[in-house]
Symmetry: C2
Subunit: 486 residues, 2 copies
């Protein structure tokens, strides 16, 4: 047994009474040949190790460099220095691993940019910013499981490799074991996918929802939390080719139940992080404030990060229908001054400039928009039967999107069409092959129930809570067009 250490997070909350402790970690800084800041990743706070002057030979002192790993045994005493309560006065120091300062690519003194840190994503966890981001990400992931577990939801692992491409949520990645340079062919020259691993074409999932509905119509309440994929050539700060999504699906819920669940869920996650990771959030709030100092006044956030999280946690989300949202846009000064680049009229798929206006300028809080035009939404959403051609309005479906300040769409969901005939009709209109989805249709044939669900993009939620601005900075090893490093 080697690992008999005290974690720095646990040590720093102890009263320093001269107790002997061993810490292991990585050197963050070393000054005056005497004061060594050591971090072990359990917290952004370092423990200050004090070395007795003259006790260590020059050879050893030279090896105390940034990111060298050390094992220190010593006594915890009250610190005379400012900014910390405790010093660890070293009795013994062992260097576990050297770190050549001429070669180490992460010199914290030089304030590396976030862009540079993406290139060394294997080392960026060792910075305060990414330490905080990934501890908060962890806390949010745990809070998700705790939220649903406490409510009695069943965590369902829906398949990653899928032969179904019926949902049409986006471009898909093909999964295959056929040789690209010489695939087996049919007599007519087409590829013979019967020879592929699964005996047919398969892709990476874009959503676990359809399979989630199979679970919900047996267990009542399920959720998924797994990776999903989009083979879209989107090189933006908000898109990833591989990202994690949470998809609860609840039997007996209608659209209002669904919106209530989503709002409660988002507030719960924020509260959990505020209660369990306040140190990290304070650090990230400061980071964001400093980053925004570089921006012109009118581009800065109106609220600091902590203030924003408290505001969202403590206020009701705004709820409007799509029709109301369009009316608000049409009556806005922005519209009248022709500030929108894209057209505004009933029936459009709102652009992010429209969503941002609603959330950031008009309501200044998260907004749940419901009842979108059927024509712009997926086949499985429940019809509202409310077309009003005189007003230029087609039928709507019981969809909902939640829009968050600074992020845009963070949740998309709907009540599902549980009526077999209506669902078949809509599939036929939208050219979704019913025979491929026989299993999905079965839930409507045998004891169908009203039900609803939504998807929360996990990385977007982490962006929102950490105040980071590029989605590549909140997932460990981002996958984007042209990039699959590490």
């Amino acid at each position: 047994m080697f690992n008999k250490r005290t974690k720095i997070k646990d040590l720093l909350v102890q009263e320093p009474t001269g107790q002997e402790v061993t810490v292991m970690g990585w050197v963050r800084s070393f000054r005056n040949n005497q004061f060594m800041a050591v971090n072990d990743g359990s917290t952004n706070n370092n423990v200050q190790v004090v070395l007795e002057l003259g006790k260590l030979d020059d050879e050893t002192l030279k090896r105390i460099t940034s990111s060298a790993s050390v094992k220190v045994t010593g006594k915890a005493i009250a610190s005379l220095g400012k900014g910390q309560k405790m010093d660890l006065v070293a009795d013994t120091l062992e260097i576990l691993g050297d770190s050549d300062p001429m070669k180490y690519p992460l010199q914290l003194k030089n304030k590396p940019t976030l862009e540079y840190l993406r290139e060394i994503a294997h080392l960026r966890f060792r910075t305060n910013t990414f330490g905080a981001v990934f501890r908060v990400r962890h806390a949010l992931a745990f809070a998700i499981h705790k939220f649903f577990n406490d409510k009695g939801f069943v965590y369902l692992h829906t398949p990653i490799i899928t032969a179904s491409d019926a949902e049409g949520a986006g471009e898909m990645f093909r999964v295959s074991t056929l040789p690209l340079d010489n695939p087996p062919k049919n007599d007519d020259g087409s590829i013979n996918f019967r020879e592929d691993f699964f005996g047919k074409t398969t892709n990476l999932t874009v959503s676990g929802q359809l399979e989630g509905e199979l679970g919900a119509t047996a267990f009542g309440e399920i959720y998924t939390f797994g990776p999903t994929f989009r083979a879209e050539n989107s090189n933006t700060a908000r898109h990833l080719a591989e990202f994690w999504m949470i998809e609860p699906e609840v039997a007996f819920n209608d659209l209002e139940d669904n919106a209530n669940l989503a709002e409660e869920f988002i507030k719960y996650l924020i509260r959990y992080a505020m209660e369990n990771n306040r140190d990290d959030l304070d650090f990230l709030a400061q980071r964001l404030a400093e980053e925004e100092k570089q921006l012109p006044q009118d581009k800065r956030s109106e609220m600091g990060l902590i203030e924003k999280l408290e505001f969202v946690m403590n206020n009701d989300f705004e709820r409007v229908t799509y029709t109301e949202a369009i009316d608000i846009l049409l009556q806005s000064p922005a519209y009248k001054k022709k500030k929108f680049a894209y057209e505004v009229k009933w029936g459009i798929d709102m652009q992010s400039e429209h969503e941002r206006y609603l959330v950031e300028k008009h309501f200044k809080k998260p907004v749940i928009v419901t009842n979108y035009p059927a024509a712009i939404k997926a086949f499985y959403m429940r019809s509202n039967d409310d077309a009003n051609p005189e007003l230029g309005r087609g039928p709507t479906v019981a969809a909902m999107d939640i829009l968050a300040p600074g992020i845009g769409e963070i949740v998309g969901g709907s009540q599902r069409e549980e009526r077999y005939d209506r669902l078949l009709e809509r599939m036929s209109e939208m050219h979704i092959p019913a025979e491929e989805l026989w299993w999905y249709l079965d839930t409507r044939r045998f004891g169908t129930v009203p039900h609803a669900g939504f998807g929360l993009g996990f990385e977007r939620m982490v962006l929102f809570v950490t105040g980071m601005t590029n989605i590549r900075d909140v997932i460990a090893f981002p996958r984007t067009p042209g990039s699959a490093e590490f």
Copy 2:
């Protein structure tokens, strides 16, 4: 708001005092036009709904069929019947969704086989067996997150799509957006993967370990819990092409720390299920006992499911070195009677007949086997420098496998080679390209630390705890050669 119901699990623990409640669920059985067993998936226990004779018309009575969905409001009163505490005397009954008994493919009366239920995996959650299995699976998943969260581990989402195929843990699935029927080619006729989505060849991950080590050498302690893939043509009751794996990785742990963590972890999971899902486990124990009645006496388990779980929870795992394990095999009556099909000598990769002998016949408990021959283990395992050619023994590495009764290998892990030069040497011997793993090698160049980790196959753990015997019955929608349904 539609969903104002009491869950049956919560209802059944209430004292029946005539309180009015609404339940929603699916009909499991209906007899004498009066007694309706309703299940909502929150538990295997049904609530008995009592209908007043003559109150409902024949048309409605006919619609009360297996798996029809209903909403019942009524009063909870003490039951006069045997086997239940409570009856729900219906005031109103609404049929939410019909289920035509002539078409419904899941007739519980006929005792469908597990094989048949795999073909209707979209409906099998509605049986008692799969209800219990997937609630236990959920409980184990939650327990995994709770175990690590309580210890301060960071949950790391390692990438699913990876350009690295260096680990060599098994055959991989290719992920691509290139058209199979006309892929772009280089001048020499080879496929031009620079045109692929990520600008190079990419595959589905076989393990998150290497990336996990990047996290552990910053946060100290991380774990992964995500899907992993093997494109192997193994049509057995223990293999899946897509399965979930848990991989903790801990800085400062040596092999003994690693074994201690794994043993504590497995016991924690079993205890959690026993404390939180006893109803489901009791049901599964009975199912297993009945299944085993079909077997000849000598093929039946020595212990019942509950007994087995208690035994594993309350007893130390056996710990032996590989060398000791081989000696035990060589001295066994089975070996002397030539009962093993495969050769036994120092250096072999033990076959499942050998593992089963050790676990089921010799020790009769889980066994942690350590220090395997380097020649049969992966490049990243730490060298022990202990070759003994006179005894016919080559060098070993600090590997460990945990073998469980009835399952075989459930955990594989090791202390990692943290010495840069030794690691490079071993990679070169094993033809692992160092330039592709520059980022992995960096952890050994900059503040390297002793560290260790392991992988637990989630489905094998679920098999072990539920007493199911085919791995396809413990994952919602199994992916196996030739099959990617639902």
